[in-house]
């Protein structure tokens, strides 16, 4: 295939474009003269994943070798390999002309039929894309997350197995945050493209980072799936009574941090920004006390790196949306799918 795209080249090439909405995808395949999307399903839904950006880029005079080789599907937003015509979903390649993944679904833990449920025979097909229903479902990472009855869930039973083989049922999700690794910042931390889905719509996009200053191999958030508990924990006003060292109490849901409450709350605000949310692991081996938090103050924490957390930096758009829309329901978080490898 091809070498990974550098973050800078990717940004330069794609920053001017945005994926089409579901309606735009449908309209693009309807006959000339017909009004856009009148509720009639297209004849071949699989083709809806096959539109590329090549024409747009030519029209804008941006054609270059990089663009020719690095186009994206405008419906799924995934990068397409011009040579093979396959879309990279992170976990595996998807063939838009076939409407099928090129390799069977897989999980990082051994499983006879990954992400499948006997109760739903459709899920036993490990090559299918969003249960053959691309008009109402999307798949951000190739592992088949999509909305079911208005909630984000993993496809096919959404049962996870921990290191001891114990099964854990994932919750129903209202939102899904996908963090895809894009490169490294000047502090040595891994940078991420963040996409927040609200049902099957993109609610917000942004950038984040995780890892340590100049030691990229340490302290980065672990690749895997997390969930944010749909509840608000009390804002910090005093150190944890169990800590003799001024540390705030741990949080397991969302926590708003109001710097005006008192000097201690302000100090926490300087470290974490106006809000933080605990990224609770689905796989216990990935447990490292990670949070999704900002960096607002002038303390050492505001330098573009973290201790194993995922930071949204200073742009609060995404976490504001999460707290206002998903604060009382579960939010799924999928991190670093591009670097996940099958075992």
């Amino acid at each position: 295939m091809f070498a990974p795209f550098t973050a800078a080249a990717k940004e330069e090439t794609f920053s001017a474009f945005a994926p089409w909405s579901a309606d735009e995808c449908i309209s693009a395949f309807e006959p000339e003269g017909k009004k856009a999307h009148q509720g009639v399903a297209p004849q071949n839904p699989a083709l809806h994943q096959g539109i590329t950006w090549s024409n747009s880029t030519v029209a804008l005079g941006l054609r270059s070798l990089a663009v020719e080789n690095r186009i994206r599907s405008r419906c799924t937003g995934k990068e397409r390999d011009a040579e093979s015509g396959l879309d990279m979903f992170g976990a595996r390649y998807y063939g838009s002309s076939l409407g099928r993944f090129m390799t069977p679904d897989w999980s990082s833990r051994p499983s006879p039929v990954p992400y499948a449920s006997v109760a739903d025979p459709q899920t036993l097909n490990l090559y299918s894309y969003v249960l053959n229903n691309p008009l109402s479902k999307t798949d951000p990472n190739g592992h088949d997350w999509f909305d079911v009855d208005g909630k984000w869930q993993w496809q096919k039973g959404h049962v996870y197995h921990d290191a001891d083989g114990n099964a854990t049922k994932a919750k129903g999700y209202a939102g899904l945050l996908v963090a895809e690794a894009t490169g490294t910042n000047k502090q040595g931390a891994t940078t991420y493209k963040l996409t927040l889905y609200d049902q099957n719509k993109v609610a917000a996009t942004g950038t984040g980072f995780s890892g340590n200053n100049n030691y990229a191999d340490t302290g980065a958030i672990k690749v895997g799936n997390y969930q944010i508990l749909g509840r608000f924990d009390a804002p910090p006003t005093a150190p944890n009574p169990a800590s003799s060292d001024n540390n705030p109490p741990p949080v397991y849901g969302y926590q708003k941090i109001d710097p005006s409450i008192n000097p201690y709350a302000n100090a926490v605000y300087q470290a974490y920004g106006p809000m933080r949310a605990r990224l609770n692991p689905l796989d216990p081996s990935g447990s490292q006390g990670a949070y999704f938090h900002g960096q607002f103050g002038d303390a050492f924490h505001s330098e573009g790196w973290t201790h194993g957390c995922l930071s949204y930096g200073r742009d609060t758009t995404m976490i504001d949306y999460m707290s206002s829309h998903f604060g009382n329901t579960w939010t799924g978080v999928s991190v670093g799918t591009q670097v996940e490898k099958p075992q």
Binding site: S287, Q288, H301, G308
Partner: protein, 168 residues
């Protein structure tokens, strides 16, 4: 009389033997007198957490005192990446049976008003009681699961850059 001298000699010999048996400390030692708590039940996480202090003795006689949240799973144990932590850095020295540490504050997630970083140098004797260390008022036992924690790797590298090799 001869018997008394013999006993005294044996006692002194015994003490010397004990002193010689104090091995140089290594790796991570976690505070044992902590209160463990469980995450909310709805998360179905098989883990518990506690506020704890950890002493880390590197082979090249560098010393770290870290206060943070420790998370224990069925097979794993980590220092929480996102909960607050306080880090002191310095050196350790073993003289006979006496373990001495010198250190100072180098970082604190949630700043304390009026505090400067790095803080003043402090020194302390760590008492060795069999397989237990007594540091200030806390008791510590060896915790090999924390030896490879990223935190210590990062602290040691960072402080080497900040303070240069002459500091350890």
């Amino acid at each position: 009389m001869i018997l008394r001298y013999l006993c005294l000699a044996l006692c002194l010999l015994g003490n010397d033997s004990l002193r010689a048996q104090v091995a140089p400390p290594s790796g991570a030692w976690r505070q044992t007198n902590v209160t463990w708590k469980k995450p909310p039940a709805e998360l179905e996480l098989k883990q518990r957490y506690a506020e704890a202090r950890i002493l880390y003795f590197s082979p090249d006689q560098r010393f770290v005192l870290l206060a943070g949240t420790v998370i224990q799973g069925p097979t794993s144990e980590v220092i929480s990446g996102g909960d607050g932590r306080v880090v002191y850095f310095g050196t350790w020295k073993l003289t006979g049976s006496s373990l001495h540490v010198e250190y100072r504050l180098v970082s604190r997630t949630v700043a304390k008003e009026g505090e400067t970083i790095p803080g003043p140098v402090q020194s302390e004797d760590v008492r060795v009681r069999g397989s237990t260390l007594l540091f200030q008022k806390d008791r510590f036992s060896r915790d090999e699961k924390l030896d490879g924690d990223d935190e210590f790797k990062i602290i040691l590298e960072r402080e080497s850059v900040r303070q240069g090799p002459s500091s350890h």
